[in-house]
């Protein structure tokens, strides 16, 4: 009973925060509600025993993606009033789309019910061990490929946003390597009472 009660609490919070993400006037509020939505889904995952994915969701989404969104929103200086107008034009299309999926939900709830119960499973290993068993053996290639995808995304983001400024002084490795001590240091003998004469 505790499980069901917590599920409905977190699910209600998740749906409410998702709605607030869409209908907030200020994009900063939207991002913060997105963080709250991810946090609630983390709670849901931990509730059904998928701790590893829940914590990874908290770290990756809340710690990286949502904060990235927040930085961009704060950096861009958007006029809030101009963004939300002309919204009524798209309401019928959106309602039609939502109605179709609502019909699917009703069909599923009324005609198809699943009898699988979470309490019947006996776990010999914990969640993280189970994931580690398959992630580094069966899905090894996929794991490496997802690393390459992240590398490509990083390179792509840097290339897209990089601004070349010719006035910035840069390191020239060739000229550094080809210099000798004579180019840099000059030995001067100073006679007594004369000082150094500049050429």
């Amino acid at each position: 009973m505790f499980l069901v009660g917590s599920f409905f609490l977190f699910a209600a919070f998740l749906i409410t925060t998702c709605i607030f993400v869409i209908f907030s006037k200020n994009p900063v509020n939207s991002v913060l509600f997105l963080v709250l939505a991810f946090l609630n889904s983390t709670f849901l995952f931990i509730l059904i025993g998928a701790e590893f994915v829940g914590i990874i969701l908290a770290i990756v989404y809340i710690g990286a993606v949502a904060i990235l969104f927040l930085f961009v929103v704060m950096m861009l200086d958007i006029q809030i009033t101009t963004l939300m107008y002309n919204i009524k034009k798209y309401v019928p299309l959106a309602l039609l789309f939502a109605g179709i999926i609502l019909a699917e939900i009703i069909y599923l709830t009324v005609f198809k019910t699943s009898k699988v119960n979470i309490d019947t499973f006996i776990r010999s290993k914990n969640n993280t061990e189970q994931i580690g068993d398959v992630l580094y053996t069966k899905y090894f290639i996929d794991f490496q490929l997802s690393g390459i995808v992240l590398l490509l995304a990083m390179i792509g983001a840097i290339v897209l946003t990089h601004v070349y400024r010719p006035t910035i002084k840069r390191q020239n490795i060739d000229s550094q390597n080809s210099t000798t001590a004579k180019d840099r240091v000059q030995l001067v003998k100073i006679k007594p009472g004369e000082g150094i004469k500049d050429d």
Binding site: V4, V21, Y61, V72, F97, S146
Partner: protein
């Protein structure tokens, strides 16, 4: 209704998916909100994968949800980079003008 079933999570993920798609339809002008709606849709997919994996007692779904997380992070980075250069060129993020990028 004294125990959790897969149906609970499936319907929750469908509702979250609908909210994300609804946001995509409504906010045709704000590019940041479109990216956030895509994140919500991916979150719905994650909820579906993880709950199915737990209730079928099969760990592969959780591994796939980790891959979805990876792709979502990459997608957010690239999308926000495109958003930043678009804002730098145009001074606004109105998506109705974005077809001028092909000129």
């Amino acid at each position: 209704m004294t125990s959790l079933t897969y149906n609970h999570f499936f319907i929750l993920s469908l509702i979250v998916f609908i909210i994300g798609c609804f946001g995509l339809f409504l906010n045709r002008r704000n590019m940041i909100l479109i990216l956030m709606c895509i994140e919500i849709i991916l979150l719905a997919a994650n909820i579906n994968f993880v709950s199915a994996s737990v209730f079928l007692n099969d760990i592969n779904g959780q591994v796939f949800s980790i891959f979805i997380l990876t792709i979502a992070a990459a997608e957010a980075a690239i999308g926000l980079a495109i958003l930043v250069i678009y804002f730098r060129n145009k001074g606004e993020i109105d998506i109705t003008q974005i077809n001028q990028l092909k000129d």
